[in-house]
Amino acid sequence: MRPALEEIVGRANALYEDLDFGAVTDWKRRNPGRKAIGYMPIYVPREIVHAAGMLPVGIVGGSDRLEIIRGDAYFQSYICHIPRSTIELALSGRLDSLDGMLFPSICDVIRNLSGMWKLLFPDRYVRYIDVPQNFDARVGGEFWRREIEALRDDLVVLGGEPITDDALNKSIAVYNENRRALIDLYKARSEQPWVFPTPELYVVMRAGNVLPPDEHTAMIRAYLDEAPREDREDKDHSRIVIVGTFCEQPPLGLLRTLERAGCWIVGDDLLLGNRWIETEIPTEGKPMENLSQAFIEHSTATASRYDAERAKGESLIQSVRDNEAEGVIFCAPSFCDPALLDQPMLVNALDREGISHTQFKYSEDTGQFGVIHEQAGTFSDSIRLWSEV
């Protein structure tokens, strides 16, 4: 790998592997007195945290590198893995750099995690963010605006400084740049997946969980410049979209396995919160209304969002078409209610369109990929060899 690319990917990998969140500690050291606020998947309006002069920090569990010692005591066995590893991170002191934590309503497990946080860490700011499921601007829009205004007011108290509209508009502009860079990265990956392998794209995208947004945008842009200079050859792989990875993240080994098995990932819902708003948010006028309106009108389609207007699977099929994908892999965490309850409806939608699909489950600490390798490989074979015969 060329040194310039190695430096970018190496840094992103180091940030991915650092379970002590050293980047956050460094940021706080460089910015004395300022606070860092953690947030769980899927979506929180990071612009408000940023406008408060704080660092939004994405927490998505402990991946496959964290041994769960105390976390299991807090949860029954038949739920997903991310809450137990998140508790483990906190109890082991790895999240001590965070001054607060936001828990958006994605499922019961994350909601209950917010309650546990309040009991375990009474000295820290904790907020459960109730996301509307009614997307009528007069109902859900109004509710959401009040919800995010309450968050803003909390952060004013926590930070001890006002959050002005001007600061919010500037933060919205910063995140617009970040979203634009991610859109460009995803477009480039869809066009040339061998140039932008998904395990690399993923760590570069995930660096945004701990870096300030402008720094992260610069990293994405540098990666977009450098990756095409690497001598990478296209392979005769099938093009697939993966679905179900919006909350608990798959281990990096799983993404590598899919590509090694002959699947180019050309569409995904990994770390979906970073791409939740599908358009740019206006940077003039009333920022809280703009943020609220963007959520109501331009949120992406996913399992945890009720969408009364579009049929289930419509956006997945659109993603298949837009990315010229040949199949879909349902790749969901074990016991993930939102992903797994959505799956039958998405399967029906794909069947109606004649789009191939297969499915398996993972946990963030899955370490054996032999079966997945075999399954993804035979799926790729079936697409390439039998779709035309």
Binding site: R260, D381, L385
Partner: protein, 290 residues
């Protein structure tokens, strides 16, 4: 040197990276052809790995088979890998072992409706249709006692060359059965047999019958009891094993026909090369329509 540009004929390569050996094939085929007449196998190569650097063995096998075929790498329309083929960095595409063995089996023995791929690490039975599409499959479990590696170990203990295993097994008078469950116990069985003075032929035949029993069970499990079965993989060359399987199905009255071909050990590589040819056509069509 054969050029791909002057006719609808194309050249493809298949590289099957197995546990104990690397097999390579160069074929010439009529574009879009499926029948045996559409295909000419120009060269085949099987190279044992023997604790050498695998990438080096792959490169050597590939370049030797190219030389044998009298073609150069740039003449190839598609290089396909199979098995542990991720190490074949110059491949255009990779196909899974079942897919390629099924295709290779139908090429060699067109009437086959089941394939038994028996390699160094495990055995795998597949039901297929006439186009070589895999309909169902069963594999041996992780235990090695049904594998070529186990047989190779036993041959080494007995001081017998691998090529002698089959002929010796066929000479057996009173086969001595071994444990068919665990390789470690089976190897202990063999040591006991040697100390009891059991002949090498009877020991080998006992092992063959034990392995054959496991494979017949796999074939029965996928419902391949009344069809032609093509044996592929390294153990297809073991005439003692093939005979043991035939004896068992005859004894049990199973109307199954066990077949092998002189090219059976190359089925994966040939299948990969054939699928490579097919994919080349598909990709060309896509390119032209774009």
């Amino acid at each position: 040197m054969i050029s791909t540009a002057v006719s609808s004929e194309i050249l493809t390569a298949g590289i099957d990276v197995g546990t104990s050996s690397v097999k390579a094939a160069i074929i010439r085929m009529n574009a879009g052809g499926w029948k045996r007449d559409d295909v000419e196998v120009l060269a085949l190569r099987a190279e044992r790995i023997r604790r050498r650097d695998l990438k080096q063995v792959i490169n050597e096998s590939f370049h030797t088979v190219l030389e044998d075929a009298g073609v150069s790498e740039k003449d190839l329309a598609y290089v396909a890998s199979t098995g542990e083929g991720e190490l074949v960095h110059f491949r255009r595409g990779h196909f899974f072992g079942m897919t390629t063995h099924a295709r290779g089996a139908v090429y060699m023995l067109p009437g086959s409706r089941a394939v038994l791929d028996v390699g160094a690490l495990h055995g795998r039975a597949m039901r297929i249709d006439g186009r070589s599409k895999v309909l169902s499959y069963r594999m041996t479990t992780q235990c090695a006692s049904g594998s070529g590696q186990f047989l190779e170990n036993v041959a080494r203990y007995l001081g017998v060359a691998l090529e002698e295993v089959g002929p010796l097994s066929k000479e057996a008078k009173e086969p001595e059965m071994v444990s068919s469950i665990c390789a470690v116990l089976a190897e202990t069985d063999v040591i006991n047999m040697v100390s009891r003075g059991i002949s090498t032929s009877d020991i080998l035949k006992g092992i063959h019958l034990s392995m054959a029993g496991r494979y017949i069970k796999l074939l029965r499990a996928i419902g391949a009891t009344e069809c032609d079965v093509a044996v592929t993989g390294g153990l297809a060359a073991d005439e003692g094993l093939i005979q043991a399987m035939r004896e068992l199905i005859q004894k049990d009255g199973i109307p199954m026909l066990i077949q092998e071909d002189p090219q059976s050990i190359h089925a994966g590589a040939i299948g990969a090369a054939l699928w490579g040819g097919y994919r080349h056509e598909v990709l060309e069509r896509k390119r032209q329509s774009a």
